[in-house]
């Protein structure tokens, strides 16, 4: 490869607070336009911001989980610009004294695990949403604005230029999403816009310490789009350089339809946001005790937990990684493992049937009693039910929460066993298939398998083939 891509990401994540960053309005998604607004988040004259304590706590937790150094003193600044979705004509953000500096996230790439360093993490407020009657604000007949989102707390995470491909960017984002969900800092729903990502990308000869001219890529609305857009942009820059051209520093939009990056018309000069310290808020001093308390509130982080699950339960890395992808799944596994010791079997059932059925039924794993699955597996292990029955029971088990033992009794799904239950069925099969019976008597062992199959069919698969086999042999053997 002639060039190496150098990629840094700027990620905005919506924090899962109930109220906005500077007022008490709800952050609920999907409300009637302009119904979650008040004089403060509408920026009416004379109103003042009051910082949401929970937002600070969540931001600090995210910073701790990302191994950042949380600053004892940080500050809010105003980022000034005019746009109709920005009620005060400035966004309250953090500029030169962010909440946290440094840190990083270890990401499993195909070539091995690598630490992607972070530059900073800071808090800021979200803007409103515009809908244009036309294709842009400059030529629309009119534009509608919804301020429900204005003032929702955002965490901005800026990485160092440590990523080398679109795929690496996607893998990093997936790892970040897992971590943020895990810590409960954000629910990270991309379709609701609660995670957004812009990227800076440049090329250089592999191994070179210098950075090339970068472009900024925006409007990537999914992790897949990030991967495609960055790979496309890297190719575009490479082609320019191949031709002996020069990459121009500019902002590009990812066109999802055409799968290309489109340079935006360069504006006269770069934007000057006239940052200055927000005089309506005091500098934020975070006491050590406050940070320590949040450290204790942090759950065991996914990578560490994955390693522990491997050691403690003898799971394969893949299994452990799957179980720790969400905190709820791992919690479910560990709760079930307290009373069920075939851990690999448990992990397999969770990964396979349970997740499948949850997806089918739309249930959350956190709503399921791990004891029910354990009971089901124990019945399976003891032979009270067989595997197809267990699978059949699972959906109802999940939806009703009824004990599998009761379900089996109620639906008559228990195993059919014992001479008394099986003998009539065996007799019936022998009567209906006298040819096959005769073949067996004349030494064709294969005929027995056919007969076993018929009996099993009559029981709906709920008999034990061994027992059926034995009974058939007994009936077919010459009378003493």
């Amino acid at each position: 490869m002639k060039y190496e891509a150098v990629i840094g990401l700027e990620i905005h994540v919506e924090l899962s607070t109930r109220s906005k960053l500077f007022c008490g309005c709800s952050t609920a998604f999907g409300a009637e336009p302009n119904s979650n607004c008040c004089p403060v988040c509408l920026g009416l004259p004379g109103t003042l911001p009051v910082l949401n304590r929970r937002a600070v706590e969540l931001a600090v937790m995210a910073a701790l989980a990302l191994d950042c150094s949380v600053q004892e003193l940080c500050r809010f600044d105003r980022k000034n610009y005019y746009y109709p979705d920005l009620p005060k004509a400035y966004q309250i953000s953090q500029y030169d004294r962010p909440l946290a500096l440094g840190g990083g996230l270890d990401v499993d790439f195909p070539g091995g695990t690598r630490r992607i360093r972070l530059e900073r993490v800071h808090l800021e407020e979200e803007a409103g949403k515009l809908i244009h009657a036309g294709d842009s604000i400059m030529n629309a007949a009119y534009s509608l604005v919804d301020y429900n989102r204005a003032g929702i707390p955002l965490l901005e995470i800026v990485t160092a230029p440590d990523l080398r491909s679109g795929k690496e960017a996607r893998l990093f984002l997936e790892a970040l999403r897992t971590l943020l969900r895990y810590t409960g800092v954000s629910d990270v729903k991309m379709e609701q816009g609660s995670l957004r990502c812009d990227a800076n990308i440049s090329l250089r000869p592999p191994g070179s310490g210098k950075l090339g001219v970068k472009t900024e890529v925006k409007n990537m609305n999914s992790f897949r789009a990030v991967e495609l857009a960055l790979d496309y942009e890297a190719r575009r820059q490479a082609e320019i350089m191949e031709r002996g051209g020069v990459v121009v520093q500019q902002t590009c939009h990812w066109d999802e339809e055409r799968k290309v990056t489109v340079p935006l018309r360069s504006k006269e000069g770069s934007a000057d946001y006239r940052y200055f310290p927000e005089p309506d808020l005091l500098p934020l001093r975070l006491e050590c005790s406050f940070i320590e308390a949040l450290k204790n509130e942090l759950p065991e982080l996914p990578q560490r937990r994955s390693r522990r699950l491997q050691e403690q339960y003898g799971l394969e890395p893949r299994e452990a990684a799957f179980l720790t992808a969400t905190r709820e799944t791992a919690d479910f596994f560990e709760a079930a493992a307290e009373s069920y010791s075939d851990y690999r079997n448990l992990a397999n059932w969770i990964q396979g049937e349970l997740i499948y059925q949850l997806r089918e039924t739309g249930l959350e794993i956190s709503a399921v009693d791990p004891g029910l699955l354990v009971e089901l597996l124990q019945m399976l292990d003891s032979g009270e039910i067989n595997r197809p029955t267990a699978k059949e029971l699972l959906p109802e088990l999940l939806q009703s929460g009824t004990s599998p033992l009761l379900l089996v009794q109620k639906r008559g799904l228990g195993r059919i066993c014992g001479r008394a239950a099986l003998e009539p069925l065996v007799e019936r099969v022998l009567a209906e298939n006298s040819d096959a019976a005769e073949s067996f008597r004349q030494g064709k062992e294969k005929a027995l398998a056919f007969l076993v199959g018929r009996v099993m069919a009559l029981t709906g698969g709920r008999a034990d083939t061994g027992e059926v086999n034995e009974l058939l042999r007994e009936k077919l053997s010459p009378s003493p």
């Binding site: 004259p45 009051v50 005019y82 400035y90 309506d280």
Partner: protein, 495 residues
């Protein structure tokens, strides 16, 4: 003597003894307004019906024996940058000409809860930017002492209303002197409290790190009562101070013995009207007679204060005023597209002084200029704070002139913004340092206009300021002089 000639305390006593009703008190002020407002033009909006209604409610409560605040039934006028729910709040700007806030400022909530009838909203320099009230988008206000002169600014409407007997109490706002300078020009007591002492919630912002609501009253005692009512921590204002508010009025009579008073050498002397210098000297002497010691003190960096103030305040203003874009409320001028609408709305909605300051502030915050202007000004602010800190090691109270001259003529300085800015030379430094500062009447100039001296105290020492102010009142023989208060046809001032 008419009711409208009385101080708030005197009215309060009459009301509490039930010698007069709140309705009678309010009616007296409404009559006075009807008589002299056409000459003074202190109010943008009058609310006589609402004031009478509140007065009736207070009277009823008093008859029922319900507990009432000492100032219940004593009416008040509000500067028109203080938001009142359901009542137009214009900031004397075309851009907010029809703006009706859906909320009360915290101070208004407190006034309403205490039963003070609101007479109306007073004129001011647009967005509080000015020192003469000539920058009002609607009309200038006249000084009751001489109708050809300005009442000062930016709280000129509030000052003129109290001086002319149209309201016994008024609230103003002080960013760099906007309560104290009009108090001096109109012969009133005007206090700018410690930054954070009074909630700014509902005060339409000019320069957030400097804005404070203050009181304009006839006497120190009136000011002590009114400030105690509006001060205090407010969860809606993160910069408001948590400390309890002491009952300022209770300590007014305490002795000044042993008090160390420093005369700020930069706030008098050369460049000041000699009669003002004499007034400062006299006031210092009077405090000495009450047992205080007097010395001189220098604030070495005070010469940079005005420049720093005229960088920091426009910088913050350029950001605070960005929201007036025609999208959500206030004036909206049509336009070809959004940028055109923004430009035309702001072009038509703001007056020239506001535009000038937005431009200065935008420039001072711009990349490449920030360090040289805004940051440098903030450094001056730190140096000024240190100057004051060191002055307060040797002194308990500082004294100087409030203004270099008495009230000037309407139109005299409108062509020269720099001359106008120089009016704030003595008042900006305390504001930059966030200190409490009061302008106290100090007799009359030989030309018949009132003079003011300014006292400055360490943070949260408002009680001390009122005490010293009351002592100066007593030394001058009781309640300060008033402009001729007779009916306009007979009075010399109101012809």
């Amino acid at each position: 003597m008419e009711l409208y000639e009385l101080t708030a305390i005197d009215l309060s006593r009459l009301l509490q003894k039930m010698e007069v009703s709140a309705v009678e008190v309010v009616q007296s002020f409404l009559d006075r307004i009807e008589a002299v407002e056409p000459y003074i033009k202190a109010f943008i909006t009058l609310t006589p019906a609402e004031a009478l209604q509140e007065a009736r409610a207070v009277d009823l409560k008093r008859i029922r024996g319900e507990p009432l605040h000492a100032l219940a039934g004593v009416p008040v006028a509000l500067k028109d940058c203080i938001c009142t729910a359901g009542l137009r709040t214009t900031c004397s700007s075309r851009i907010l000409e029809n703006f009706i806030p859906p909320y009360d400022a915290t101070v208004v909530t407190k006034l309403k809860r205490a039963g003070l009838p609101i007479l109306g909203k007073t004129n001011m320099d647009e967005f509080a930017m000015g020192s003469s009230t000539e920058n009002s988008a609607f009309f200038p206000t006249h000084n009751p002492w001489d109708l050809e002169r300005v009442p000062g600014g930016s709280s000129g409407g509030s000052a003129a209303a109290v001086a002319a007997g149209m309201a016994p109490l008024a609230l103003g706002s002080d960013t760099g002197g906007s309560v104290r300078q009009p108090a001096a020009f109109c012969g009133l007591t005007g206090i700018r409290p410690t930054y954070g002492r009074v909630s700014r919630f509902g005060l339409i912002a000019f320069a957030s790190s400097l804005d404070q609501i203050g009181t304009l009253t006839l006497t120190a005692a009136d000011g002590a009562l009114l400030l105690a009512l509006i001060a205090g921590h407010d969860p809606l204002d993160s910069t408001s101070l948590p400390q309890e508010v002491p009952p300022y009025a209770a300590s007014l009579e305490q002795s000044l013995k042993g008090l160390r008073v420093g005369v700020i050498v930069e706030n008098c002397g050369e460049g000041f009207d000699p009669e003002i210098n004499a007034a400062v000297e006299k006031a210092a002497h009077q405090l000495k007679e009450f047992g205080a010691s007097v010395g001189e003190v220098s604030l070495p960096h005070s010469g940079y204060g005005l420049a720093a103030y005229y960088l920091i305040s426009p910088s913050e203003a350029s950001s605070n005023l960005g929201r007036y874009d025609g999208v959500r409320y206030g004036l909206r001028a049509g336009g070809e597209n959004i940028v055109d609408m923004f430009s035309r709305t702001r072009g038509e909605g703001f007056g020239s002084e506001v535009k000038r300051r937005i431009m200065i502030g935008t420039y001072a915050l711009s990349a490449g200029y920030y360090d040289a202007f805004y940051l440098q000004a903030q450094k001056v602010r730190t140096l000024l704070r240190r100057d004051f800190d060191s002055a307060f090691k040797d002194f308990d109270l500082l004294i100087g002139a409030t203004t270099p001259t008495p009230a000037f003529k309407i139109g005299e300085k409108t062509e020269d913004p720099l001359q106008m800015y120089l009016c704030d030379i003595c008042t900006v430094n305390d504001a930059l340092a966030g200190l409490p500062s009061i302008s106290v009447p100090a007799g009359l100039h030989s030309c018949g206009l009132p003079l003011g001296v300014q006292l400055t105290a360490p943070p949260l020492q408002e009680g001390l300021l009122f005490r010293a102010a009351q002592a100066l009142e007593q030394a001058q023989g009781g309640a300060p002089a008033r402009p001729l208060l007779g009916p306009p046809v007979e009075g010399g001032c109101l012809e």
